[in-house]
């Protein structure tokens, strides 16, 4: 009963938000460069690798995404130590993780948002841009030396260009990775491989042979049964198979794919690469190597099949391997061995599809009028982008929570636990100290990102880092009206693509009808949609050189 009410409220909220956003007119922004009245508490000589410390005690409200695994505590060392180092006190507005996005929309729409709004995943900030509630942070990069330094040092300009809106500015301060961090791949039962005298597969074609051998030995099984079929069916599977073919689909669905040869965008769902993805998966399903339920079942069902020995291959990341599959198997099939293998290679060659941008921070426009505005931007720069700030947010205080040897290797103090590194530790780095918190800590230097990785995961990352990153598409920012039009076209298009992808893969529609399917996409305005994107791209090129 209350679910229905919730939905009604959600619809009302969405409708109202749209009205409010359309209704609110952008007031004249103060001159971006004139910051004379906003320097209270700021450091005059703030710079790279310099400890930020406000010249007077300051406090900033921050939207806080409250994680059920380490619920917010006021007595965390994180808060007190942060104030000690920076003279800044953060005032968290705690929002349950389950409905963070909704509350964020509400607070921004009501004009009641805290000044610092973290945990925003691009392109979620688009919805707030036209209302004028969010600060175009690209105008103020000069206040953030560490961020500028990392953009230059790690060559992140192309990535940042993808964040730009049609006015050429961006509104999100994303988390940065020195190297792309590939998380998702597949895990394989190596004991079965050994038993069948097979090598660990390196390409998707080799996987096919392996699955076939497994099927021959265990005819009753579906050797490969995948999880992660939400929010769109086969989300993760399509995503990694697509990446191997050089397109972004499934979870990472991007309707417009850049064709470097033709120097224009093409519609992803109609490309030759997309067809190859479908043909490959269709082959697996047709020969009963891939469980057709992979596209619809819940994660738990997939886990059960693996745990009961009804399947031998499953999608995985570092956590699910250690937290889900291995403990499951230890209880049901103690002799089983499961390994996450490097992402399989496809026609696109040895690439690493992961992005180097993470979720990020939005700054409320109200902050611009504050007399502490400059100090706040310096503070955000120190906490989120300086090496010292990132190390602090992730590992805590040297001597209290961790130690670091001459080689720069981090070690947790013996009584501090984290992901089971010190199971006997009486205190938990996240739960009791507030460090390693997803609100403040992500990305950074390679050695920092990997400092918690197990040797096994390091091995995986080493292979992945040796591969070429997937090139970033050139920017094609849409204007507000264009975005509206584009989503009117793209929503039914995406539905049609997903539906038919499943039909093709599951054999409900013969692959000979591919051309008819492409025709259907055209009838649903795929060409118009791509025309719009290409036009936006040309306009951006012209305006920004």
């Amino acid at each position: 009963m209350f679910h229905r009410t919730w939905r009604r409220v959600a619809i009302a909220a969405a409708g109202l938000l749209t009205l409010t956003l359309v209704g609110a007119c952008s007031d004249d922004a103060p001159d971006a460069k004139d910051l004379d009245g906003n320097r209270a508490g700021a450091m005059a000589d703030y710079g790279i690798d310099k400890q930020f410390k406000a010249t007077e005690p300051l406090s900033f409200p921050i939207l806080y995404n409250n994680h059920p695994n380490y619920p917010l505590k006021d007595d965390w060392l994180f808060w007190s130590e942060l104030t000690k180092r920076t003279n800044v006190k953060l005032e968290p507005v705690a929002v349950p993780l389950s409905d963070y996005e909704q509350k964020r929309s509400l607070l921004i729409g009501a004009g009641d948002a805290p000044l610092i709004i973290p945990k925003t995943y691009h392109p979620a900030e688009n919805a707030f841009v036209s209302s004028g509630a969010i600060l175009p942070v690209s105008d103020y990069l000069d206040l953030m030396p560490n961020l500028k330094d990392k953009i230059a040092k790690w060559n992140l300009q192309p990535e940042f260009d993808t964040l730009r809106q049609s006015d050429g500015k961006f509104y999100l301060l994303p988390g940065l990775h020195e190297k792309p961090w590939a998380e998702y791949s597949i895990a394989v039962r190596t004991d079965i491989l050994q038993q069948l005298n097979l090598q660990i597969p390196k390409t998707w074609d080799e996987l096919y042979t392996v699955l076939k051998a497994m099927k021959a030995r265990y005819p009753d099984s579906y050797p490969y049964s995948d999880r992660w079929s939400k929010p769109n069916p086969g989300g993760e599977l399509l995503s990694i198979v697509g990446a191997a073919h050089g397109i972004r689909t499934g979870w990472s669905w991007n309707p417009a794919t850049w064709d470097p040869a033709a120097k224009k965008f093409v519609y992803t769902g109609a490309t030759e690469q997309y067809k190859q993805v479908i043909v490959y998966l269709n082959k697996l399903v047709a020969e009963k190597l891939l469980d057709p339920e992979s596209f619809t079942q819940t994660d738990e069902q997939a886990r059960q099949k693996l745990a009961n020995g009804k399947s031998f291959v499953i999608g995985s990341n570092a956590q699910t391997l250690v937290n889900d599959y291995r403990p499951d198997l230890a209880k049901t099939l103690p002799n089983a061995k499961l390994t996450k293998i490097p992402l399989l290679v496809g026609p696109a060659g040895e690439i690493n599809p992961a992005s180097r941008l993470e979720n990020g921070v939005m700054i409320s426009k109200k902050a611009r009028d504050s007399k502490n505005f400059v100090a706040m931007m310096q503070f955000v720069d120190w906490l989120y982008y300086s090496d010292a700030g990132q190390e602090f947010a992730k590992w805590g205080v040297e001597g209290t929570t961790y130690s670091k040897d001459a080689a720069g290797k981090y070690t947790l103090n013996p009584d501090v636990d984290m992901i089971g590194l010190n199971p006997k530790g009486s205190k938990h780095l996240q739960k009791d100290f507030g460090f390693g918190n997803g609100v403040f800590s992500y990305g950074g230097r390679l050695d920092l990102v990997q400092s918690f990785f197990s040797p096994e995961e390091m091995e995986f990352q080493k292979v992945m880092n040796a591969r070429t990153p997937l090139p970033v598409d050139p920017p094609a920012p849409l204007t507000d009206e264009e975005r509206e039009q584009a989503s009117l076209w793209e929503t039914p298009l995406k539905d049609h693509v997903i539906q038919n992808t499943l039909k093709f893969i599951l054999g409900q529609r013969p692959l000979t009808e591919w051309d008819a399917y492409v025709g259907e996409l055209k009838a649903k305005n795929a060409d118009q949609y791509i025309g719009l994107v290409n036009k936006a791209h040309e306009r951006f090129e012209k305006d920004n050189g």
Binding site: M1, F2, T5, V9, A12, A13, G15, L16, L17, T20, N66, H67, P68, N69, Y70, P71, L72, V93, A94, V95, P96, L97, S98, D99, K103, L106, G109, A110, G111, D112, K119, G175, E183, E236, W251, D299, Q301, R303, Q304, A307, N308, N317, Q319, T320, V322, N323, D328, K331, T332, E358, N359, K394, M418, I419, Q430, G438, S441, Y442, V449, F452
Partner: protein, 315 residues
């Protein structure tokens, strides 16, 4: 979560039986017997379908982790243990939020009952001038509302944010309940109140000493309606409360389940943390959260059936 529908159909069947026994000479027709058999089967199926998920959750909450993963737990707990109960009950935030839920439910129900009764009683009086307008004002809010953001701005500027009032005052009067109650009051014989007036009772005296004692059934029903909806509600609390020690247990539960299933959306978080709430923990929290309100049901149910009927038959 707590549904009413199948339970209400139950008591009708036993009621029908004595009636048929009284006419001992006449055998029930064949059609009637078939109907009864079908009825019993269908109702039993409905009961099974409704009960199964709940029994399953209870079984999971009492089971070991391994059989759950292997998909072996259906109706009977496998590998009985109470570790998960101990774990959930040792979290102080769970109890803080639990206490909040109890307080919010009790206070909100009390406020709602007082306001709804007063409003409904007034509306039931035909001699009241402007009665149509007053009914219209209430009914209007059933179909139109200011929407989320204006409501939020209103509550905030009234200074009720982060206080119990933000949860218990908005929606204190449920218009549907109001109309049911109004119909009930209208069905009371007007002569009773006239007699009371002749004996010297004021309007309030009539309401308190004559009408309310006769309305126990409808009030019990309303208490149940309101209490269940306040117990289950999480959205208003989520909107207007920013401090976790003010939140009701429903938000706690929601967050717990989201944290366990939303690993992909929390990519950055998962980097360093992955201890997801185990299936048993979720089950235990669900059981502990629904249990009290379920326990209230059997005691109020007899009022519940007659209460709604009394209001409804008024033509």
């Amino acid at each position: 979560m707590v549904t009413v529908a199948p339970g209400t159909a139950g008591p009708k069947t036993p009621a029908a039986r004595p009636a048929s026994r009284r006419r001992r000479g006449i055998r029930p027709t064949r059609g009637y017997r078939v109907f009864q058999a079908v009825n019993a089967v269908v109702l039993t199926l409905v009961v099974v379908v409704t009960l199964y998920p709940f029994v399953n959750i209870v079984a999971r909450s009492l089971s070991d982790e391994a059989p759950i993963i292997a998909g072996k737990v259906n109706l009977v707990p496998q590998g009985f243990n109470l570790t998960a109960y101990r774990l959930v009950m040792s979290d102080p935030m769970f109890w803080t939020n639990y206490r909040n839920t109890v307080v919010y439910t009790v206070v909100a129900t009390a406020i709602s009952i007082v306001l709804t009764t007063c409003y409904a009683y007034v509306l039931s009086k035909h001699q009241l001038k402007g009665r149509g307008v007053l009914v219209g004002v209430a009914v209007f809010t059933m179909f139109f509302s200011g929407g989320l953001i204006p409501n939020y701005v209103l509550i905030t500027s009234l200074g009720m944010k982060n206080s119990i009032w933000a949860v218990v005052l908005p929606n204190a009067i449920n218009v549907f309940n109001l109309l049911v109650m109004k119909a009930f009051f209208e069905s009371l014989p007007v002569e009773l109140e006239e007699a009371a007036a002749v004996d010297g009772l004021s309007t309030y005296g009539t309401l308190l000493r004559i009408v309310l004692p006769l309305s126990k059934a409808i009030i019990a029903t309303m208490v149940l309606f309101y209490a269940v909806s306040f117990w289950n509600s999480w959205f208003t609390a989520f909107l207007y409360l920013d401090q976790q020690d003010l939140l009701p247990v429903t938000v706690y539960l929601r967050n717990l389940i989201a944290g366990a299933t939303g690993a992909q959306s929390a990519g950055g978080v998962a980097e360093s943390d992955a201890v997801q709430a185990a299936a048993t923990i979720q089950a235990v929290t669900i059981v502990l959260t629904t249990l009290p309100i379920l326990a209230v049901y059997p005691f109020i149910q007899r009022f519940f059936v007659s209460g709604v009927m009394l209001g409804a038959v008024k033509g």
